[in-house]
Amino acid sequence: MGRYGRYIPWIILGCTILLFPLRTSNYYLQIACLAGIYIILIIGYDFILGWAGLLSLSHAAFYGIGAYTSALLSVNFSIPFWVTLPAAAIVAGLFGLVVGFPTLRLRGHYLALGTLAFGEIVVLVLMRWRAVTRGVDGVTGIVPASFGLFVFDNNKSYYYLLIFFILILAIFARRIHQSRFGRALIAIRTAEVTAEVSGIDTNRIKLLAFILSAVYAGIAGSLYAYLFRYISPETFGLHQSITILTMLLIGGGGSIGGSVLGAILLSFLPEWLRFLKDYYLLLYGVGIVLMMAFMPDGVIGLAKKIISKIKFRLPLRRNV
């Protein structure tokens, strides 16, 4: 392998991703799109869980807030996608600020419980405030996203739109990870008092991570609304937050690669295991327990371990 040899796997991977929609069923394509939305959700959730080390159980609520913001703006006021998407991000971010400010003062289990309560409140409001949210019937009639004259009204075109958003959001996330904010988050997770005494405003940085994750969830929610063009409250309940948590833990927190792997793996796994019928959940549960026990750093952690063993390089160095 020459100088560019190390890029070969990436080029193959890139081509596979780009060509995937050409030779697959519409059904699989829809799962792929949903996986793409999960990727954005998990990259956002990683800011809190993987980087700041805080357990929040309200991520699905911000996802729902983003979805409803976009959907209601589109249905009630015919506002186009390119406006409702940033609106969803901003509204979700504002909720992140309002929720994060008091709850981030809580620690450990209490933070989990506080955010859990918020998540439940959001779902209840979405179900009961019929005048605005249309209750359990959900919102229908969302106008498809379009760019100029091009309309993203099928899964194939939407797939490419999602790739565009994933790339942008992943690049943004990576820049934050590699900046002083990323350093500060690692510091807070490993030694909060030392971080504070080093001059880091730990409360502010934690709040920032929380808001960022809410913004990512808001964008994901908006993209979800435009994918199915129908949303209803039960999608955004606690089970969704747990799915997000599981995806990140399985993929491996603290890295974009882990977020991507976790989202894809757990989106397609139910399909691959369909032949098991009712035993699926049993295997799923056992599988997760085993993975948590033997691969605490997720799939990506295991992969890194294997690669570093192949290369005979101990992970003692880290270049900035």
Binding site: S179, T190, T194, A195, S198, G199
Partner: protein
């Protein structure tokens, strides 16, 4: 008046325990001051009060003439107080250089949007931080280890990195909590030289230390605490021969035993 740090009737109580009795303390700029005393004397409590980790029960802390009594730790740091810890808790997943860079991040001004668009000023700021961190690592003699993962270093070297982290943001006052703990004799004497060089930069040093040889060697003045009370203060020679200090460390001499 010309004191860099002054406490007035500073005290701390944990429930019924008086960790620190009302304590008046003054330190002049450019001084190396040691704070000594048996275990439980209130030394670390005092440092934690100064750096804002604890809120005092009563009393005032003045730093450069400014009240810092109820100010959060990160603000105290920004005002110019550096601090190392008795047990180093390095940021394990970060390199040595990044550990030190963290200490300078409080001086950064470019916000998140600069980082998202990778603006040239944000890049420049990051380079500046790196440069500062390298300088601080060079100062403690750890520059060659800059790319190591910190937890792979021996304990004594981790302490030096911690020292660089506390120094990197150019503090006026440096608080060292048992800097020589876990160090070999050689590392200890290097540390003494290092503390002197820190003072030569114009930084006032307040250290808590159990290693008496190091304390006597490096400090200009020594303050002795026992059970939260101030029992003596003076130059090393005075402290060495002070009967109260000897009693606190070795126990009361009873005439019965001699007779």
């Amino acid at each position: 008046m010309t004191f860099i740090l002054e406490t007035r009737q500073l005290c701390k109580q944990f429930g019924g325990v008086h960790a620190l009795r009302p304590f008046d303390f003054k330190i002049s700029p450019g001084e190396i001051r040691a704070l000594i005393g048996p275990n439980g004397a209130g030394k670390t409590t005092f440092l934690n009060l100064l750096s804002g980790i604890y809120t005092p029960t009563d009393g005032d802390i003045l730093f450069k003439g400014q009240q810092i009594t109820k100010i959060k730790p990160h603000v105290v740091t920004r005002l110019g107080v550096g601090r190392t810890f008795q047990t180093v808790k390095p940021f394990g997943k970060l390199s040595v250089l990044e550990n030190v860079m963290l200490g300078y991040d409080c001086r950064a001004e470019k916000g998140i949007f600069h980082i998202l668009i990778k603006s040239s000023s944000a890049k420049q700021e990051e380079e500046e931080t790196k440069e500062k961190a390298r300088k601080a690592l060079g100062f403690v003699g750890m520059l060659d280890k800059q790319n190591m993962i910190i937890t792979s270093l021996p304990y004594g070297q981790q302490r030096l990195v911690d020292l660089a982290r506390a120094l990197v943001h150019d503090p006026d006052l440096l608080l060292l909590d048992e800097p020589a703990a876990g160090m070999t004799r050689q590392e200890g004497s290097d540390l003494v030289a290092c503390i002197r060089r820190i003072r030569d930069l114009g930084i006032t040093v307040l250290l808590v230390e159990h290693n008496m040889r190091l304390v006597m060697d490096v400090s200009d003045r020594i303050t002795v605490l026992d059970f939260g009370y101030l029992i003596a203060e003076g130059i090393p020679e005075e402290i060495r021969s002070n009967p109260k200090v000897i009693e606190a460390y070795l126990g009361k001499k009873t005439n019965d035993a001699i007779n």
